[in-house]
């Protein structure tokens, strides 16, 4: 058995374009879908969280002199932003893909990355 991180990417702009009336309904639908996902795949889940949007992110870098530079926003400016994750356990990549493909991820998709184990 191996562990994989399932990273959930989403185009935040698409969420922003939804009118406030529908937004609540959509959030409710999403929450329900994640609940169902959790129930169906409980045996494989080792953790998971939704993240606050990239507007809440803070990035840290070192400049050429080694000084800490703190900036507002996500580390990389990408169209789809990291919105959440699940940590799963699976026998192999095919099993990991089978689980990850059930993760609700409208306006984007998921990345499946194997956890590195140091012997």
């Amino acid at each position: 058995m191996s562990e994989y991180l399932v990273l959930i990417y989403s185009d935040e702009a698409s969420w922003e374009n939804v009118d406030p009336a529908s937004a609540g309904e959509m959030m409710g639908k999403m929450t329900e879908e994640h609940r169902v996902f959790g129930e169906t795949n409980g045996a494989a889940l080792r953790g998971g969280n939704a993240l606050q949007p990239t507007s809440s992110a803070t990035s840290l870098r070192r400049d050429a002199t080694g000084k800490l530079v703190v900036t507002d926003g996500a580390f990389a400016e990408t169209k789809e932003a990291l919105g959440g994750y699940y940590l799963i356990e699976a026998a192999d990549l095919d099993e990991a893909i089978a689980v990850a493909s059930q993760v609700p991820a409208p306006y984007g998709g998921v990345e499946v990355r194997p956890i590195r184990v140091f012997d």
């Binding site: 990549l93 095919d94 012997d119």
Partner: protein, 393 residues
């Protein structure tokens, strides 16, 4: 043999070493004891034993795939009872062509591990440096091991999509060999032969799969024309100019039988449809007697199955024959406006041909020049240049 050993080791590199070790031991043992009746079985058993030994010594350090068979040490067989060779080769094909690997990596691994081409041979086939190809193969193997791509034949409901990926890889090898993208030859025989080998192997392993039959039919029917693609001076011959009496009639018969089989599954999928088009060309006694309307209809169906701009381009050629170059040009303009085939030499050359037939020489000239800029194959460039010269100034 490699395939059977990977089943034990779960690691391609270790398996390759065990196979080489088995050969080395044969070189020592056989002169003394004589060559065994089932030499292949002997070698495979020795390789697998070595693999099991290696695993036992390295279990703590190595991540193994969960699928290996923890077999008891077998006796050196004379009448060996080995797991199906076919089963192992099938596993290897599906592993090499796993969708988690990039298409170029799938093709590189398939040629390297299934066809046994050396890294330098594969590099030459795709016109990259040996170090580039070596790195690609290494990265592919690394991806297989770090993300734990399993060494298995996909389950029933995954099979259609996975077979499709394998077929795409084999098709890519074939089309690269059939019309080499650059270089001084029109065809690369070695790639065509390898694609044919792989397609035949897949057919043997999956005799009931319609798309597998379709791809094999497509390759056989297209390759049946190999003797007439260039004239004795090595210049390009168009389909309309080829001496059809030189086409391989036995291959065409074999291909047509396979197409009928492929088309039994409805709705017909893309390789069955492409093979059907190839069959219509193969059975026609001439360019003029070809059933062009039927070909357009098949392209219409193919576009639904496979909405690829290249398919749309090929369809426009057929439309140009049925409804004339004006209609062909119209079909093409949708594609050009789309921008999808920017930089694709055949878009420019097809447009050039329609314009030439319409007598729009200045525009034709510009299109031929564009096609020349985008073409890297010597034989095709020579053809385009001669068309340009015909147009004069």
């Amino acid at each position: 043999m490699l395939a059977a050993t990977i089943r034990v080791t779960g690691d391609i590199d270790v398996a390759e070493e065990c196979v080489q070790d088995a050969f080395a031991r044969a070189l020592v043992a056989w002169p003394k004891s004589g060559i065994p009746m089932k030499a292949g079985a002997w070698l495979t058993t020795v390789a697998r034993r070595r693999a099991i030994d290696t695993l036992r010594r390295q279990t703590s350090q190595r991540r193994v795939m969960t699928n290996f068979i923890d077999a008891p040490e077998p006796e050196l067989p004379v009448d060996g009872d080995l797991p199906s060779v076919a089963d192992d080769r099938l596993r290897l094909i599906f592993t090499c062509c796993h969708p988690a690997l990039s298409p170029e990596t799938q093709v590189a691994l398939s040629l390297r591990l299934l066809c046994g081409l050396s890294t330098s041979e594969v590099a030459r086939a795709f016109l990259v440096s040996e170090s580039t190809m070596a790195a690609r193969v290494t990265r592919g193997k690394k991806k297989i091991s770090t993300s734990h791509i399993p060494y298995r034949v996909p389950g029933t409901n995954e099979l259609p999509a996975r077979v499709d990926a394998v077929l795409s890889a084999i098709h890519l090898v074939f089309t690269t060999g059939h019309t080499a993208p650059s270089g001084s030859d029109l065809m690369r025989r070695d790639l065509v032969e390898r694609a044919l080998d792989l397609a035949r192997l897949l057919r043997k392993l999956l005799p009931d799969d319609a798309e597998v039959a379709g791809l094999l039919a497509l390759i056989i029917l297209t390759d049946a024309r190999r003797r007439t693609r260039t004239n004795s001076e090595g210049a390009l011959l168009l389909l309309s100019e080829q001496d059809r009496s030189l086409w391989d009639r036995d291959a065409i018969e074999e291909g047509e039988a396979l197409v009928r089989e492929a088309l039994r599954v409805r709705p017909a999928r893309r390789f069955a449809l492409m093979a059907a088009i190839a069959a219509l060309h193969a059975e026609a006694r001439s360019w003029e007697e070809t059933k062009w309307s039927e070909i357009v209809a098949i392209y219409d169906a193919l576009l639904i199955e496979w909405p690829s701009p290249v398919v749309a381009l090929n369809r426009s050629v057929a439309v140009g024959v049925v409804d004339g170059p004006e209609a062909g040009l119209a079909a093409l303009s949708e594609l050009t406006n789309d921008g999808q085939l920017l930089g694709y030499n055949y878009l420019a050359s097809t447009r050039a041909d329609f314009l030439r037939r319409l007598g729009r020489s200045d525009e034709a000239r510009a299109a031929y020049e564009e096609a020349l800029e985008l073409s890297e194959n010597y034989v095709e460039r020579a053809f385009l240049t001669s068309r340009l010269n015909e147009l004069g100034d």
